[in-house]
Symmetry: C2
């Protein structure tokens, strides 16, 4: 990878402490002079994600002094009330639709739109211009709020509604999970790969059983996706990111 220019503008990274947002944090630290992180507590896996956020930030700061100088505070915002919309009774018609689409009845749509609106309000106060998130069309085609056209419309709404000039940046949008491992290595070498394996957290069940690709139950969809990406990447000899 060619060395990117360091922008004097600041970035706010939507940072859950997972594999994807760890790669996004490194990507932003490579590009922006001032980087802050925000995490959302929406009532799921809260304690384990909070611990992963703290551990990844701490180890990145220890391993990469140039990045440590750019890394600003972490913010945590409470979104349990948004999660609670999932508890609202479905109408009878809607219940049938949800079943047909294969969604769990407590699924609340538009989560990324809420994350981005909160992040933008926070970025407004903190004077940060880039909103960096790990949304990805490649592996998660089922989530329409991860798609780039949704995010383009959201960027317009945020900029019109807040009289701002935010950019929603999604470095993983077109990457496979194997390519996300390759991106981590390109940005931070073996050290960042090790931090991602040992400290980031993705497992839906909050399990921290160690594997070569990370810690997790190994069986939930998030673990399966992560393990498959690792297997592809290692089978390819931990190749650099195909451009």
């Amino acid at each position: 990878m060619s060395e990117p220019q360091i922008s004097e503008q600041g970035a706010l990274v939507l940072f859950s402490g997972g594999q994807d947002s760890t790669a996004c944090l490194a990507w932003a630290l490579e590009r922006y002079a001032r980087v802050e992180t925000v995490g959302f507590d929406y009532g799921q896996r809260h304690a384990v994600e909070l611990e992963a956020r703290r551990a990844v930030r701490r180890r990145i700061a220890e391993a990469f002094p140039a990045w440590a100088a750019r890394l600003g505070p972490d913010h945590e915002l409470d979104l349990t009330a948004f999660g609670a919309i999932g508890e609202t009774a479905l109408t009878a018609d809607r219940a049938i639709e949800v079943t047909e689409r294969g969604l769990p009845s407590t699924f609340v749509p538009g989560r990324n739109l809420v994350f981005l609106t909160y992040a933008a309000a926070l970025a407004d106060r903190r004077g940060l211009k880039a909103l960096v998130g790990g949304m990805c069309e490649t592996d998660y085609s089922g989530y329409p709020d991860c798609r780039r056209d949704t995010l383009d419309a959201m960027q317009s709404a945020l900029n019109l509604g807040m009289e701002q000039d935010f950019r929603i940046e999604t470095p993983l949008m077109r990457l496979t999970k194997a390519q996300t491992w390759a991106l981590a290595k390109a940005l931070g070498g073996e050290a960042l790969v090790a931090i991602t394996v040992e400290d980031s957290h993705t497992c839906y069940l909050g399990d921290r059983t160690p594997h070569d690709w990370g810690k997790g139950c190994g069986a939930c969809p998030a673990c399966e996706l992560r393990a498959r990406g690792w297997a592809e990447w290692t089978a390819a000899g931990q190749a650099a990111l195909a451009s």
Copy 2:
């Protein structure tokens, strides 16, 4: 006003219990076969707004049997965490900008974008298609998230992000406050005007001192706007809404 067609679709009214959202509720009840309401607790004037919401809904149901048959449940969502972003420290540069723009340092931008995202997630679960809000360009030119172009972008983001076909309807967008009084009278006659005066709540201070135009402190910007609209409307002989 000509009699509108009743749509079999449902509507969710963003309902704070104020003058504007009372008019919006009546407007929706005149048009939709099923109408639910949603209020947001963002840590300001909560108790008095909650009481206004309940009183307005109860009195409308008592006075208008046809509307009572269409009026579904009220929902309340907790947005105190969004309000709390106002407590986040401003950077020094941003503090100067905020002062220059004349905004209070605890002002959180984009409030209506958050309201709409939560409302859309709730409407998705409840099978409601219209999101009705009292946003208005006429009297509140200072709030960019009330403008129709912002709401058009937000409607696109919500529909793309939730694979939905919501419409954000803003019946007050081009009305003055005098015209909002006229709309209340056109929709519900003297009875709705009386409910608005006696039970709706707009005052920023939560004051309930009675006046001919409603209850409030009479001095805050919200009371001034409301009183001025009332004065204009009564000076015009409580004329019908100019079309």
